[in-house]
């Protein structure tokens, strides 16, 4: 009956813990491994121009849907300009305006993006384009080429590829030659192809962007062809007809509009500068969670002040130590002083490191015990005696620090980090057990405590575990579930197997 409640509760806790964990890991992209860094590119676009006499209006197309990338942040720098964002069809446009300006002007727009394969193109399906209005004799040329290509293709994709082959033919037919006569740049070429696709009632548009690779002082904008096959957008290399998109290709804007337009200015200069750097993956995940309005991130430990974070980095490992404690005591059957004394000792080991921790702990307890036996002869009342032991422990810590400093062993100084009250209680309890049950029992429990402390220290010292728990504190729910289950473990302890050995052989 109770057993079932425990199972159900443990299952619920595990499911809650693991689902929050999975959500943060898979969806928000929190890293499960420490020091995971994400490549981030900052693209800075600078618009330079000379101001004219009147009002100035600058328009810049900026990224909106960027398959393969997510925006980390964006901002613009412009002195005295009013800034607004417009959403013309299929894109985003930044607009700066000022009534009057003198001399050369520079406007910066900066965006940081990072790679994310899950950033899909969530674009709407476009309507079939209206038949373009084309004048003769071009219209005939278009019609002939389109019907030619249609005969050699099966669907939208193959049509596009075939069309691009046609248009790129080094020895073009008269129709293609006519169509190509007005093409002066790759953009013109893509624009012409788009028009021809429209004539075939295939939605298509020009996209322009550039590859993100390392530092680029001036990134070259490349036009690309985007064709909708009724289901999704597909990308075609306008030069070869292959269906692909370059690696790390950031789509800056779509359509045939120019990138920048400056009204009331002259000598417009424009360039993209790309800079690559690395950011902590956690910071990016948090950013993303904020953008998605996820409340979870408000409860992230990374939002706490750095110093508090450091405290929690340690505190959150205590449940791990407690789990080790449960395993050692209820599954193995190790004897120890106090319930959590070994965990606290393990915490002190974090600062002293293992070897010195064990040495200093043993030294402190041994010295403390011998002085405690001297105190026994004085027949002090209980509370004053405990206080005396505590004071002796403090003095011993001081002594060990001073002596080790003199000997040039600075590690000895870290003895000050031991929880002195816990040590004093350990000494007291050990001495009582020593008197009552003999040295063997006292040593037994003493070494048991030390062994648990060492195991707890090893478990709590795992960097990956520390990172995991700190980034995903909800995993503590899973640890709680394990502890609950352990609380209903009714099997034998490991040491009981040898204790009852003689009964098993019967």
């Amino acid at each position: 009956m109770k057993q079932r409640y425990v199972y159900v509760l443990a299952a619920i806790l595990t499911v809650i813990g693991l689902s929050i964990f999975a959500y943060k890991w898979r969806v928000l992209g929190f890293p499960i491994v420490e020091d995971e860094e994400t490549q981030v590119w900052t693209i800075e676009s600078a618009i330079k121009f000379d101001s004219g006499p009147g009002s100035i209006k600058v328009k810049l197309n900026i990224p909106t849907l960027t398959p393969g990338f997510r925006t980390h942040n964006e901002n613009s720098v412009s002195r005295g300009y009013g800034f607004s964002l417009n959403y013309p069809s299929g894109g985003r446009e930044a607009q700066w305006a000022i009534r009057r300006a003198d001399g050369p002007q520079t406007i910066y727009y900066r965006i940081s993006v990072y790679e994310d394969d899950t950033a899909e193109l969530s674009d709407t399906t476009p309507p079939f384009p209206p038949p373009p209005v084309i004048e003769e004799p071009l219209k005939t040329a278009v019609d002939v080429v389109v019907s030619d290509v249609r005969e050699h293709s099966a669907d939208t994709a193959s049509f596009t590829t075939e069309l691009l082959h046609y248009m790129n033919d080094p020895s073009p037919g008269p129709n293609v030659e006519l169509l190509m006569s007005e093409v002066e740049s790759p953009s013109d070429f893509v624009q012409t192809v788009t028009t021809m696709l429209a004539a075939a009632r295939i939605p298509a548009r020009m996209i322009r962007g550039f590859r993100l690779e390392g530092r680029q002082r001036s990134a070259q904008v490349v036009p690309w062809l985007e064709v909708h096959d009724g289901d999704r957008w597909r990308y075609f290399n306008p030069a070869t007809g292959e269906e692909n998109i370059p690696d790390k290709f950031l789509i800056w804007w779509r359509g045939s509009e120019p990138l920048v337009s400056v009204e009331g200015g002259s000598n417009v200069e424009f360039h993209f500068a790309v800079q690559e750097y690395h950011l902590d993956a956690v910071a990016i995940a948090e950013r993303q969670a904020r953008q998605q309005d996820s409340n979870l991130v408000d409860f992230s430990l990374y939002s706490l002040p750095i110093q508090t974070q450091a405290v929690y980095g340690v505190l959150l490992m205590i449940p791990i130590g407690a789990l080790v404690m449960v395993l050692m005591r209820n599954f193995v059957g190790v004897h120890a002083f106090g319930t959590f004394m070994p965990v606290l000792i393990a915490l002190a080991f974090r600062e002293t490191k293992l070897l010195w921790g064990v040495v200093l702990f043993t030294l402190l307890v041994t010295l403390g015990l011998s002085i405690r036996f001297l105190l026994e002869r004085l027949r002090l009342l209980l509370v004053p005696r405990l206080s005396a032991v505590l004071i002796v422990v403090v003095l011993l810590m001081l002594l060990i620090s001073l002596v080790s400093h003199q000997l040039g062993m600075e590690t000895g100084l870290s003895v000050a980090l031991f929880p002195m009250v816990i040590i004093a209680m350990t000494i007291e309890r050990m001495s009582v057990i020593w008197e009552e049950r003999g040295a063997v029992d006292a040593m037994h429990a003493g070494f048991g405590s030390l062994a648990i402390a060492v195991f707890a220290f090893i478990a709590m010292g795992q960097r990956w575990l520390e990172h995991l728990i700190f980034t995903f504190p909800e995993l503590l729910l899973v640890i709680l579930a394990i502890t609950l289950l352990a609380g209903r473990y009714t099997g034998y302890r490991l040491f009981e197997l040898s204790r009852f050995k003689e009964l098993a052989q019967k």
Partner: protein, 316 residues
Amino acid sequence: MFGVAKQLRKAGILGMNERNADYIMRYNPRRLYPLVDDKALTKKIALAAGMAVPDLYGIIDNQGDVKRFGDIVADYDSFVVKPAQGSGGDGIVVVTGRSSRKRDTFRLASGVLVSEDEIRYHISNIVGGQYSLSGNLDKALIEYCVQFDPVFSEVSYQGVPDVRVIVYRGYPAMAMVRLPTRASDGKANLHQGAVGAGIDLGTGVTLSGVLDSHIVEDHPDTGALITGLEIPQWDFILEQSARGYEVTGLGYLGVDIVIDRELGPLILEMNARPGLAIQIANQSGLATRVERIDEIHDPSLGPAERTAIARKEFGH
């Protein structure tokens, strides 16, 4: 390793985790613990139920009263000082007599002479809570020192042997006698090196003994045979133990009884978390027996009837 666990399971051996989770937590409600954790209280309720207990000479429950110790024991040559909330026999001092030259010098069971001052210091430690389970302030009980029955004189080294009966839901389930040794410093506690000998519930005759989880046939100090001793007034002992269930309400109970040569069996204390070594002493598993009791359990029966059933069920 798993093979051993399987064998133990088959032999019906009760493990610590199972004892705690399935029996103590289920049948021993926490609110009843004070009845057995405080020996002064246990003595009171046992007396009220008409059970025989060692005579109480006095209780010292604050540091100011420690000086009253001399007056309390003025008329007695032998007595026992014990913490009311101690566990496992810790903190118990057995005084068997006084020095013939100085009346305020006492002889302990071990033969060591101690001054009244030293005993007062010990009492003050008890009152301060050194031996109490919770570390809280405690009381020191000063009571009659049992003159144990001669049946045990050959098989105990100093100290007082006692009989431990595990009572499950009112039925005696298993019993052993605990014999002090030199190693246990006269204490009847298996942890400290006393010898435990299982007892056939049916006849009250001792089986083989256990020392440090090993099976022994004779006493390590006296060399006398442990097996085959007949415990006197066995039926009465079991019935008194069974009645411990009515008195305390605890379903998983350890009852400790000493047999005085004149007064007969006296209830010394009761324990809400009795140990598991009794299984080794009896070379038999407790799990098998408590499961059997679960089957035959009948709440309408009285202690005497339950004892009779248990003797029949678990006799060899």
